[in-house]
Structure formats: C-alpha cells, structure tokens
C-alpha cells in the first residue's frame, strides 16, 4: 500500500471521527435553559449591563502589571546564566532594573497607582 493512501485513510478517519463526535454531542447531550448559564461572565462580579464602561484605571493597572511581569520573566534566564555572564551581566541587569524602576517612579508620581 502506498504511503499517500495511508495518509488519505488517516485523514478520512479523522474527519469521520470528528464529525461523528460533533453530531453525537448534538443529539446525546441534555440541554436546559438557564439565565446564569447564558449571562456574560466577569470574574464573579455581578453584571450590571452588557455595555459597561470600564474605568480607565483598569487598563493602567493592567499595563503596569504586564510591565513588571516582563521584568520578572526576563530575570529568569539571566539568573540561570548568572555566573557565566559575570560582572557585565550584573551591570546589564542593573541597567534594566533601573529603567523599569524609572518607569515605576514615573507611574507612581503621575498617580497611576492611586485608585481615586
């Protein structure tokens, strides 16, 4: 049997199994309507409206979070090669931390961390 025929059979089988699962689920699964089930989900906070305006501070906090998250992630590979990198590595990481720190001071002074 040629190789391409095996591949073809596999593909057909894949398709049949996949389609079969979808169709079976449609007919076998029990279905009940429930308001909670179809409502929008938002971290447990009760929904007020579907078109809700988020406070801009959520975004700022999120950006800050990402920033420091990346900083932390960047420090892992650096820590693994700490010895090989030597003193230059310390300088580099120092520079990097200083940069992020300046960003933090900036954000702090601008009041990004003050909620109200």
């Amino acid at each position: 049997m040629a190789n391409w025929f095996i591949a073809f059979i596999a593909l057909v089988l894949l398709f049949v199994i996949f389609a079969g699962m979808v169709i079976a689920a449609k007919y076998l699964a029990p279905r009940e309507y429930d308001k909670e089930k179809y409502d929008l989900y938002e971290c447990g906070v009760p929904m007020v409206s579907e078109f809700r305006y988020f406070n801009i501070r959520f975004y700022i906090i999120a950006i800050m979070f990402t920033l420091f998250d990346i900083e932390a992630i960047f420090m892992y590979p650096w820590a693994v090669y700490f010895e090989e990198l030597g003193i230059l590595g310390v300088i580099e990481m120092g520079l990097f931390i200083i940069m992020v720190f300046v960003g933090w001071i900036y954000a702090y002074k601008k009041g990004a961390l003050v909620w109200e």
Partner: protein, 485 residues
C-alpha cells in the same frame, strides 16, 4: 558557554551616543515629575544638553573605525555617526523651535522632550545595524514616539486625526516589514544582512525570486518611512497636523535614519539582486519626484506644501541610491545634511507666522513679511531657493551631486527627469518668495510667534544653507568618506 567571548564593555562604548540620549531621556522623565508647572522649560534645557553631549561624543567617535557590537547586531561606522549627527542637529534645532511653541500651545510637559530623546535613540539604532530584527524594533520604537508627538496638540482635531492616520498606516506598513523579514528568515535562515547577501549570491533561482519578493515587502516599510510613492499618503496630513516643530523634526531625522538603513539593506543585503532593485527604485524615484512636485503646485498651506516637497526630496535622494555608486551614496548623505538646514529653517518660518492653535500657516500670510522682518524674509528666500536647487545654496550642490551620480551610472533619463522636476519645483517655491516680496507690504498684520530661540533657529538654518552651499567641500569629503559599503 562563555558569554564574555561575545560581548564586552566595548559594546557599550560603541553605542555611547545612544546611551547618553537614553540617560538624558530618563533624567527628563524624572526631573519633570518634580518640576512646577511654570518651570517646565528646564526640560528643554536638559534635553538640549543631552543632544549636545551626544553630538560631541559622536564627533569624537568619528573616524575611529567600524565597530561591531552585541554579536554583530549593532554596527557603528562613519556613516551611522554621520546620520547620528544629522539627527542630533535636527533634535537641537527642533527643541529650540519648541520651547516657546509648547508654552503657547499649553502642551509644555516633560514627555514632549523625553519622547523626542527616546525616538532619537531609536533612529540612531535604526541607522546603525545590519540586523533586520533590530531594524524592526527600532523602526517601531521611533514610530511610536512619532505617533505620540504628532497627536500632541490635544485641542487640535487635525493633530489627533493625523496621529491616528499615521498610527494605522504605520502599523500596516510594519506588518509588511515583519512578513518580509519572516520570509527572508525562512529562505536564508538568518536576519543578518551580510549572511542574507552571501546566501542570496549562491541561491537557486526560485529562492532568489522569493527573496526578491520578501525584499519588496521589507522595502514597503522603508518606503513608508521616507515617504516614497505610493507609500507617501500619510506625509501631507501628518506634516500639516503635527505641531510644527515636530513636523520639522519628522521631515528630517527619521528620514535620515531610514535612508541610511535603506542603503544598508540595498547595498549590503541586496547586493546580489542589484539589477532588480535599481530598476525598481528607478521607477519609484521618478514617480515620487513627479508626484511630490506636481501636487505641491496646488498647495495653499505652507506646511502642506513642505509635506509634498519632502516627498519630492525623498525622490531626489532615491536618485542617488539608484545610481548605486559611492558618489551617489555620499551625495545622499550630503543631501540629508543640507536638507536638515533648509527644511528645518522653512518649517521654522512656518512656525514663525503661526497663530495660537498652530493655525494660520497659509502661504498668503507671508505677504509682505520680507519688509517687516527683512532678515526672516531673506532667510526664507534662501530656504526656498535652496529647496528649489538654486546656487550657491546647499540644495544646489546636493542636487548636483545626486544627478551627477546618476549620470555616472548612465541613468541619463533619471537625471533628466530630476532636472525637469527641479525646474517644476521652482514654480511653487518661487510663489512663496513672490508672496513675501512682491505682493505689497501694506498688509502689516502679522501674528507671529515672537521667540528669540525660534529666530536663532531660522538664522542657523539660513547660515547653514549658505555656508555649506559656498564651502561644501568639508562636509562632502566627510560624507563621501563615510560610505564604507
């Protein structure tokens, strides 16, 4: 694994001008936080210090040989230092233009200056690398700075609109860039232009064809930055909408960086397919020049006119690259240096006549200005003549070199198109001069931005345009000598 074998403290020395600007950028950011609202001009002072220091360092570093830093990702050579200097002078003049401007427009906040500094750093990196990924990162960084600066006039809807347009289109163009880099990497397994060049030389026909397609995608982002047809569409809107000092800065500094990066891409990376890219650039250069100059004929607003004029000047510079000889490359560098003075000067005059809200920059408002402010009028005359390419200004010398480089490469028609274009351009530049000198001096109502620093900028621009027009040899020899590839 010994990393010390790959990089050392010398790497930091190689990027000294960039480092200095970064440090000063942080200083501005921090100092601004504790500055009272009335003393924000101190930011400008710090930023100026940073630029001057970086300028001194790059001049000192000049001619100290080519240094390759950070495992070959950054290359500091004479050409990159030359462009660094262009960016630095543009930064200095732009800041001098800004001080009183931002006060008037009530946008005097530290971020303005720190963003100028940070995007200048990105421009410098853009100009000093053979690595496509570094190019991508720096072009993105500098673009983000430019987007913000374009939209800095919060109360002017054109400014916000321009920033939005610029942002969307810039991202669009970056998409092509990434795609191009990705295909390049897929084809040749590297993002370093030297390696790509070597692989391209011995690549099979189909790889070569795909490489050319990838190159074209990469070229789009560069064409977008230097405003070459048909990727130019953002230019007039952005130049007209952005705060005038930033239009001035944007018309020179990012362009300078992008031109050098483009030369590195074409001359080093795409050397094996030189026949193809010269043909492509031939068409683009000719159309860009013609488009910029013919559309500029219709402009009523000085800033918009300068926007179209900058498109046509991008075309002239592409002529130098199309020539593909060292004279052409040197001429492009020299032209950038001259363009710095004439274009910043012309924008300064646009700022000089502007009203609060950065409006009122129509050409008609120049009427009779030459009689009320003879020196400003004379300076504007010099700028316009230089942009039109009339001797003894630097614009003439630059154009002469660009076109003679084209002739040297037997591109007679391109040179002729260029010469015809500069004849067309004389018409609208001259219109400005006519408005200043020959439309009567009775309309004496000028609302001007009376700033000593701004006037100094205009003066520096005029003196530079004339001095480097009469004694171009020094800068020219430096420019020609800077080209190592």
């Amino acid at each position: 694994m010994n990393f010390l074998a790959y990089y050392s403290i010398n790497d930091l020395i190689a990027i000294a001008p960039q480092l200095i600007l970064t440090i000063f950028g942080f200083i501005v950011t921090l100092v601004d936080l504790w500055l009272p609202k009335t003393e924000k001009s101190a930011n400008a002072f710090i930023a100026l210090m940073g630029f001057i220091l970086a300028g001194i360092v790059s001049v000192m570093m000049f001619d100290s040989g080519t240094t390759s830093a950070f495992v070959g990702m950054i290359v500091t050579d004479n050409a990159s230092l030359f462009i660094d200097l262009v960016i630095i002078i543009a930064g200095i003049l732009a800041i001098a233009m800004s001080v009183n401007f931002v006060d008037r427009e009530d946008i005097n906040i530290g971020e303005y200056y720190s963003i100028i500094l940070f995007s200048s750093v990105a421009m410098m990196f853009f100009a000093s690398t053979y690595n496509l990924i570094v190019m991508f990162i720096s072009v993105e960084t500098l673009s983000i700075g430019m987007y913000i600066l374009t939209g800095f006039l919060k109360n002017k809807s054109e400014s916000i609109e321009a920033a939005m347009k610029y942002f969307i289109l810039g991202s669009f163009a970056s998409g092509f860039l990434v795609l191009g880099i990705g295909i390049m990497y897929g084809l040749f397994g590297s993002v370093d232009l030297n390696v790509i060049s070597a692989s391209l030389t011995k690549a099979a026909a189909i790889y070569k064809a795909l490489g050319i397609l990838a190159f074209m995608l990469i070229f789009i982002a560069f064409g977008f930055k230097i405003a070459a047809f048909p990727f130019h569409a953002w230019t007039p809107d952005v130049y007209a909408g952005a705060p005038t000092p930033m239009s001035a800065f944007m018309s020179v500094a990012p362009k300078a960086a992008a031109i050098l990066a483009l030369m590195r891409l074409l001359v080093v990376g795409m050397h094996p397919i030189q026949i193809e890219w010269t043909q492509m650039l031939w068409i683009i250069a000719a159309v860009t020049m013609t488009f910029g100059n013919t559309v500029a004929l219709w402009q009523k607003d000085l800033k918009r006119l300068l926007g179209y004029s900058s498109i046509s000047h991008a075309g002239y510079m592409l002529v130098g690259i199309t020539a593909a000889n060292s004279l052409g490359y040197g001429a492009v560098l020299f032209y950038l240096f001259g363009y710095l003075f004439m274009n910043l000067g012309a924008f300064s005059v646009a700022e000089f006549i502007s009203k609060k809200g950065d409006t009122n920059t129509e050409i008609a408002n120049l009427k009779g200005i030459a009689y009320k402010y003879p020196l400003i009028g004379a300076a504007m005359l010099i700028f316009m003549f230089s942009l039109a390419g009339v001797p003894p200004t630097v614009g003439f010398i630059g154009k002469y070199y660009l076109f003679s480089a084209a002739v040297q490469s037997h591109l007679y028609w391109l040179a002729i198109i260029g010469v015809i274009n500069s004849a067309i351009s004389a018409y609208f530049y001259l219109n400005v001069v006519v408005t200043m000198y020959m439309k009567g001096d009775t309309e004496g109502e000028f609302s001007i931005l009376n700033s000593g620093l701004l006037k100094t900028t205009i003066l520096i621009g005029a003196v530079g345009t004339i001095i480097f027009g009469i004694f171009p040899s020094y800068i020219l020899s430096i420019a020609l000598h800077s080209i190592a590839f």
